[in-house]
């Protein structure tokens, strides 16, 4: 099963790379195109964590899956108002497997993917948001005779092509969440399940600790979630703006 999945991922990623390297028939080089300056609307994939039977963190009748979905929809609306296209890995309470989330990310070719969660800690000292990005792990394997035009990647190495951009995405989100006044938390590099198999630039945002009474109260408050969504939208827009020349990728 793993071998089959790896082969599928290799084929999908190889196709993706070839489609980017080889111009379509009749296509003009980008610098000669009259529409080169007009960037298409960037697509952002929003991933509300958990769902279905998996409710994530649960505290006093509040669950992470519902809050993450609400935050994703608010962020999506803010991004659309700013001119982005938005897709969701889930737009209802139903559950979605990690494989399905990764498949969506790899077939839609989004400019970036943001996975939204709420946090838990055993320690009352843990407070505030966290941003996580994947490690740059694994080496791409060049196919003999193909030079650098075609590389083979296993399912677990899908991020190796985008790790640097993921870090930039995380930094943009972190800066927007800081708002210029909060503590500079930066981004934390960690191997998380929501990154598995995703080739697009991706970051996980843990929006606050449901185990912390004040932050639980904020998470339950619609106005606080809306304000948080607007800050996250500013972070995504900053990332997209910095990478406008490549359409976000």
């Amino acid at each position: 099963m793993t071998t089959f999945r790896t082969r599928l991922a290799v084929l999908a990623l190889a196709g993706l790379l070839l489609s980017r390297i080889l111009p379509a028939e009749g296509a003009q080089p980008a610098q000669d195109s009259p529409t080169a300056q007009a960037q298409p609307q960037a697509l952002v994939l929003l991933d509300a964590g958990h769902g279905g039977d998996d409710l994530g963190v649960r505290v006093d009748g509040t669950d992470e899956a519902s809050l993450a979905l609400d935050l994703a929809k608010r962020l999506g609306a803010a991004l659309e108002a700013g001119g982005c296209r938005v897709a969701y890995t889930r737009d209802s309470a139903s559950g979605v497997s990690q494989e399905a989330r990764a498949r969506m990310a790899n077939s839609l070719h989004p400019a970036c993917m943001v996975s939204l969660h709420y946090n838990f800690s055993f320690s009352p000292a843990a407070r505030g948001w966290r941003v996580f990005v994947p490690p740059a792990q694994g080496k791409a394997l060049a196919l003999p005779g193909q030079g650098e035009n075609l590389v083979l990647l296993s399912w677990d190495q899908a991020q190796s092509q985008s790790a640097a951009l993921s870090h930039e995405l995380g930094a943009a989100l972190s800066a927007a969440l800081d708002g210029g006044s909060g503590p500079k938390r930066g981004v934390q590099v960690l191997r998380l399940a929501p990154f598995r198999g995703v080739s697009a630039p991706v970051a996980v945002v843990e929006a606050g600790f449901l185990s912390q009474p004040e932050e639980l109260k904020q998470a339950r408050d619609e106005a606080s979630r809306q304000a948080l969504a607007l800050r996250l939208a500013a972070g995504v827009q900053a990332y997209l703006h910095a990478h406008a020349a490549t359409g976000g990728r």
Binding site: G56, H117, F120, S121, S123, R130, D156, R191, L192
Partner: protein, 185 residues
């Protein structure tokens, strides 16, 4: 007696059902008690109690810092490194004794088995219901990996199983599809 049953058949059926329920409850409690004894015996199979004792550093969540702390706990210095590691992980799951530290695993978490192979892979089979959160899982796994790798040079990597099965995560966040080591954190 027979007349009483004939006069009140439903009352008799209810009485019999109540007696059967009481018997089932008693049997269940006996079984649980026996299971607890069996588990206790299995734990004491790790050591004879005649071995010398030595301290290991066991990691726990900190009450004041986002990063975990550690405290010294005495274990029996058995010939088997796996038995020493088993005792250290049991101490981790039991929770801290000193002030300023908090449990790194949820109440009820238990260690089903542990072994170390010749390549330095320590397989830890846990049974637990983790509350989740990236930070919550991070602290649990950080404490597990550091408790093992910091005390036992034989342990290079840690593979976590849940109830004897490979697991993707503890509760949806940190990726357990590959073994963890100190550089994972």
């Amino acid at each position: 007696m027979i007349d009483a049953i004939r006069r009140h058949p439903w009352r008799s059926v209810a009485l019999i059902l109540a007696l059967l329920a009481l018997l089932a409850l008693a049997a269940h409690r006996l079984h649980r008690s026996h299971g607890a004894e069996a588990r206790k015996a299995a734990a004491s199979d790790l050591y004879t109690g005649r071995e010398p004792k030595g301290d290991v550093s066991v990691f726990f969540a900190s009450a004041t810092s986002p990063m975990p702390g550690h405290e010294a706990r005495a274990i029996y210095l058995t010939d088997s490194i796996a038995a020493r590691a088993h005792q250290a992980v049991q101490a981790l799951l039991q929770g801290p004794k000193g002030k300023g530290l908090l449990p790194a695993f949820p109440e009820g978490a238990s260690l089903l088995g542990l072994f170390i192979d010749k390549q330095g892979l320590c397989v830890v089979d846990l049974s637990l219901k983790h509350p989740g959160g990236t930070t919550g899982e991070y602290v649990s796994l950080y404490c597990l990996v550091h408790t093992l790798a910091d005390n036992f040079p034989e342990v290079q990597r840690v593979q976590v199983l849940l109830d004897g099965q490979r697991a993707d995560t503890l509760a949806g966040h940190l990726d357990l599809s590959q073994p963890l080591d100190r550089s994972s954190f």
